[in-house]
Amino acid sequence: MTDVTTSTPSAGFDNDNRQAATLGDAFRDYLNRLRGGDMGSLPAIFGLVVLFVVFTSLHDRFLTTYNMANLVIQAGSIIVLAMGIVFVLLLGEIDLSAGVAGGASATVTTLMLIDHDWMWWLATLLGMAVGAVIGLAIGSLVSVLGIPSFVVTLAFFLGLQAVPLKLIGAGGSLRFNDPVLRGLSINNVPVTAGWIVAVLIVLGFAALSLYRFRSLSAKGLVHPPMALVLLRIAVLAVVVLGITALLNSNRAPNPNLFNISGIPWVLPVVIALLLFWTFVLTKTRFGRHLYAVGGNAEAARRAGINVTRVRISAFVICSAMAAVAGLLSASYTGKVSPGAGGGNDLLYAVGAAVIGGTSLFGGRGRAMDAVVGGLVIATIPNGLGLLNQASYINFIVTGGVLLLAASVDAISRRRRSSAGV
């Protein structure tokens, strides 16, 4: 009597639409989704193009390979921080303390490196553990006590600034010169190794996409048309190999005297984190539950998901990622100062996530959003810096971009709820 599900194996049902038949159909579907407010990373890509056009026309050194490599290094810490923030935003929460949590963790790591001669990886792990503990505290206060995350993390934002100040002392700063960690920003992947990894990434993506396509279409499940799969592989190949070619060429301002070439080590770190978190978000039960809690916490609770645990984990991941971001930032500047992680860092990261397509209202977001959005945000100070603009301009532009991104998010959300996409 309960063999309902096995009575009609492999049956379809009427009106069942298993795939968009052609590339044209897929494109029309995409346009419909856009019109319905599902913008994804499109605003970010549009913004990136606009910024590149503007800065290239204003300054002839903006679009040099040297500056592009700089941009990648500068974007690194923003992207990693934003990737952590995505987890919190997915739940419709906010973490205002992530920047200073990163600063505090980086201070601890650096002190271990300088004063206790720890191995770089051990010090890094300790820094991430410090971040995780901060996240655990925030997450518990938010989900167990029920204090709004805005208030909890604002309190932590203020309180955590005391940590580097106490450990370093006002006016001082710590040298950050561990060869491996500092090397993330100033050293490059050997050219050949860079090419090998780039080709492997493209081949791996192609193999996975085709395997997925085959297993879905063989079983008659919903799958995109073959042409779209091939198009995606082609786009990825062009982007990955293009960036590799760009960074592997000699980018020294004076190419006859020096040879600076190779992918900055920051980039592989970012890509590894991107792949890892994308897997977690899309292929694990934990990731699915994160989306569910962000979409409808009550439904998730009734489905037997431990909502409290999911919430706490998101804050732990966010703060631990902030620790990594803090180290990348220290690696770029070569020092840790008492103000580390204060200032703009957090708003940059939130802006990056939102511009990339992660919703402030919860339930929507990808690790990839942080990468695309982080590039947009990093381009602004990079370009303005070349133009020698006073730093107040930087604040105005970044604030404006954050507001613009939040507006796009709010408008597309309204359209989504009316179009029901």
Partner: protein, 258 residues
């Protein structure tokens, strides 16, 4: 008479001084739709929440498949195979149909979530229920109409091999065509051998699909009768006055309850 799948005997429930349920007996039979009717405040929701394990009982017994069972919470009830489809549906708008149907019970393989097997099973379930209105199982739930959402919520109950499905006002917010689809689905559930409880205010719906009608009046069972033995107006009288002709609560006991 076949043995009831789920049965409550002599259930009493008070909230403080308010005695909400008086010695309620309630039975759900396999392959039948039992309509639970009653005016606002008659105790329908309280009874459903007791069945769901959300509220405890002051007294009375809970039987499942003829066995007396101890129920201490919603998880115990779900483990028995009793699924409640709430009025507000409890679906995640940002997830698609398959993801919602497997929410909290995702299938995994060595490489993470097993989307192939989940989509296949979801598809089979929808097909077995002859669902015609859903365009794609990979549609996000936000894009579904009220009736389609109801369908997904019901299909979820079927997917998990539930033996008893309680539907709380499934047609309350639906248009004519959508109500039609949901009622067809309710009928098909019973035809598959499930015990179905339909809680509804709409007498038209009740008479269309119900095999039995249990009417509650001020926390007492006014009548538990086969649907074909009563008329529309008799049920309305049972709901509003607690009695109708020979049926219902005897005059004096009805007064005593007030």
């Amino acid at each position: 008479m076949v043995q009831p799948l789920l049965e409550l005997r002599g259930v009493n429930k008070s909230f403080g001084v308010v005695h909400v349920l008086h010695d309620v007996d309630f039975a759900v039979y396999p392959g039948q739709v039992t309509a639970l009717v009653g005016d606002n405040g008659a105790g329908k929701s309280t009874l459903v929440k007791i069945i769901a394990g959300i509220y405890g009982r002051d007294s009375g017994d809970y039987y499942f498949d003829g066995q007396k069972v101890e129920v201490h919470g919603p998880r115990d009830v779900a483990a028995l195979g009793v699924e409640i489809v709430y009025q507000d549906l409890a679906l995640c708008d940002n997830l698609d149909i398959v993801q919602n149907m497997f929410l909290g019970r995702e299938e995994t393989s060595r490489l993470g979530l097993d989307e192939v097997s989940m989509e296949t099973r979801a598809r089979e379930t929808l097909a077995s229920l002859s669902v015609r209105t859903v365009k794609s199982v990979r549609q996000s739930v936000a894009s579904l109409s009220g009736g389609q959402r109801q369908t997904v919520a019901i299909a979820k109950a079927v997917l998990w091999n539930s033996k008893v499905v309680l539907l709380d006002e499934p047609t309350a917010a639906l248009g004519v065509a959508q109500t039609r689809q949901v009622l067809d689905l309710v009928r098909r559930l019973a035809d598959h051998g499930l015990g179905v409880v339909l809680i509804s205010h709409n007498m038209g719906d009740v008479f269309e699909v119900a095999d039995r009608i249990t009417a509650l009046y001020l926390g007492q069972v006014a009548a538990d009768v086969p649907a074909k033995d009563v008329t529309h107006s008799q049920v309305v009288e049972l709901i509003t006055a607690g009695r109708s002709g020979d049926l219902g609560i005897a005059e004096d006991s009805a007064n005593a309850a007030v």
